[in-house]
Symmetry: D3
Subunit: 138 residues, 6 copies
């Protein structure tokens, strides 16, 4: 399996609901340094997994839509904006980008994507899925 | 597959037995920076893989039991304390913690764990296993 | 010059005021990974710059007072909570901790402190000052 | 699954052919920081995945053959030297090393290898394969 | 002293002249991950060292002029393109940018700049200077 | 001021004496990832701070003499082997190497050296001194 990984980041505010979150129920924030790994079994005719320029543009566009925002005010994330959920959100948006051709015709051959959100030097969350299994994101 | 990763560390002395270890047969030591990845297919009702507070507490407790020690003096590790073996030890302890409920009721849904021990900027060892396959640790 | 550096972190929400800040004027957040370097010309009788346990406790206490908070709601930071300002705040708190004896009698010999706040993998801010020059923090 | 990872690096010049590469069609260069992960289900009698000394020697020898070179001048890489292709090249060379006994008799039990080439702080490419599936490298 | 540091990178080919460089006399390449630290004694009215947006734009523009190039073909660097020399080049360009007002009126108050070029995980070169002492770059 | 930094590491066992060290009074160990920064005001005729090959060889030789050892058994370090003290030891050895000509004739122009020992992802110790001020090491 071949893979290519690109990095971006976003800086957001949010709060969590539920006893399990303790002090994180207060409005706080995070820098998420985001690694996106694109995987496929074989390389395309150019010898690459994906046009890294297009892939980077897509990843940055998805993060930019959330950057410098309070996720508590965004309908998509109200009551559900854990690191894990945000990783899945980025995955779903990338699947949609692949299906729309945003990553190029060869980008449609991407089989798997892992999205990792590093929230500090000691903690991260991730979602790793197959593109073909993904249900159409809302 | 969703995952959450937390980091801890320990500083231990040890020595190895066997020609293959060369100068590492002398008593020496290591800082192990330890990354533990918890995985499961679906999130719980709170939208998380595991209560990260409990997970961190469990990881730190396991490392603390070894921290600032000479593993050559610990019965569990005599003659077998390679990085790989230590990674498996942490995995086994975490499986036991999950089964005892230490990671919460929802923690029992964790399917896989990867334990990586970074011993320097250029070398690491790891054990990655499924919780359900794990035999009861001694 | 000898030095010892310890690391901690905090996750906060905030917003900035002023045209120069562009989209960062919106309520957003950051994880600050914080490195604190303590410096002095000579070591104490134990061969150390400072009791690293006490130093870590002080750094963590200062960060904990800000952690999981919206700095826009904290009187100390209203209208002035840039990364640079926060670095100075941590410096001032540490100077106060040294003067109060919180870092031990030998801690009073610390001559300089550098506080670096990493806000992402590509940006950081810092304050570096001499303890003796510091005015009494408010 | 157990694993051990070792790191090396190489500094090469190259250029790419194809519209998709944009400005990277010009002769330029890269430092590749290379992580090689060796995997197997069980440890050998010494409690290790592989003799890390031999593994490091093999990885460094493979990288040294490319280090400080212009890959456009190397027959193996003419017209095909993307990061992904280079990762596969290192994988193939390591499979050959295992089969020749260069990693020791126990090294023959290695089941999988992942080769990751970090080309900057924000991009990497990798090849991950099973040793048994690998066709004999040219 | 306050400081702000931003990161960029460039991927270049080059070769060195002189016995001391050994195999690096062959045409090869490097990824330089570049950290630029801007320093000044006091913050401006906005509570910042420099407009980080403008500073990042300037750093990226300087690196972009070298990115994806063979420095042996650039008149500025013929026979003198060591890591140390490149660090000084970036410093000189930044001094010129400050003097031209590219970093804003407040940017003129920057007193010192350190430019660090990381060429691998184990080596870097840097130039650290005072802006006021810098001679007008050619 | 120009600088070049090279990295090495060592894995040692040791214990500390004194109430302040708490559990670190037990025999334990550490991986020290060691960064050595060489500084000088002007470059030599080859455009470099120091022959990086010679500098790396010297740093590695100094670390190798301690690697895979129990420092409690080494006369030099009995009762005094804190991270800070070890950083000074490496500095002193490098000053001796410079004076003996081990870093080349041009190496004698090195003015300052900073030795940083990273003992984990959250702690380090360092010694930074001027070569000319250094007393002859024992």
């Amino acid at each position: 399996m071949y893979s290519v990984t690109v990095r971006g980041h976003m800086m957001i505010a949010h709060s969590f609901r539920g006893e399990v979150f303790g002090p994180a129920r207060r409005l706080h924030g995070a820098t998420y340094v985001v690694d996106v790994e694109f995987r496929r079994a074989d390389l395309d005719a150019d010898g690459i997994v994906v046009d890294i320029g297009r892939a980077t543009t897509s990843v940055h566009a998805i993060l930019e839509a959330l950057n410098y925002r309070n996720l508590d005010d965004e309908a998509t994330f109200t009551d559900r904006n854990t690191t894990e959920f945000l990783a899945r959100h980025v995955f779903d948006r990338l699947v949609a980008a692949i299906r729309s051709g945003e990553l190029g015709d060869n980008g449609r051959a991407i089989e798997g994507i892992k999205v990792t959100l590093h929230e500090s030097h000691i903690a991260s969350g991730a979602y790793d899925g197959r593109v073909i299994d993904a249900i159409a994101p809302a």
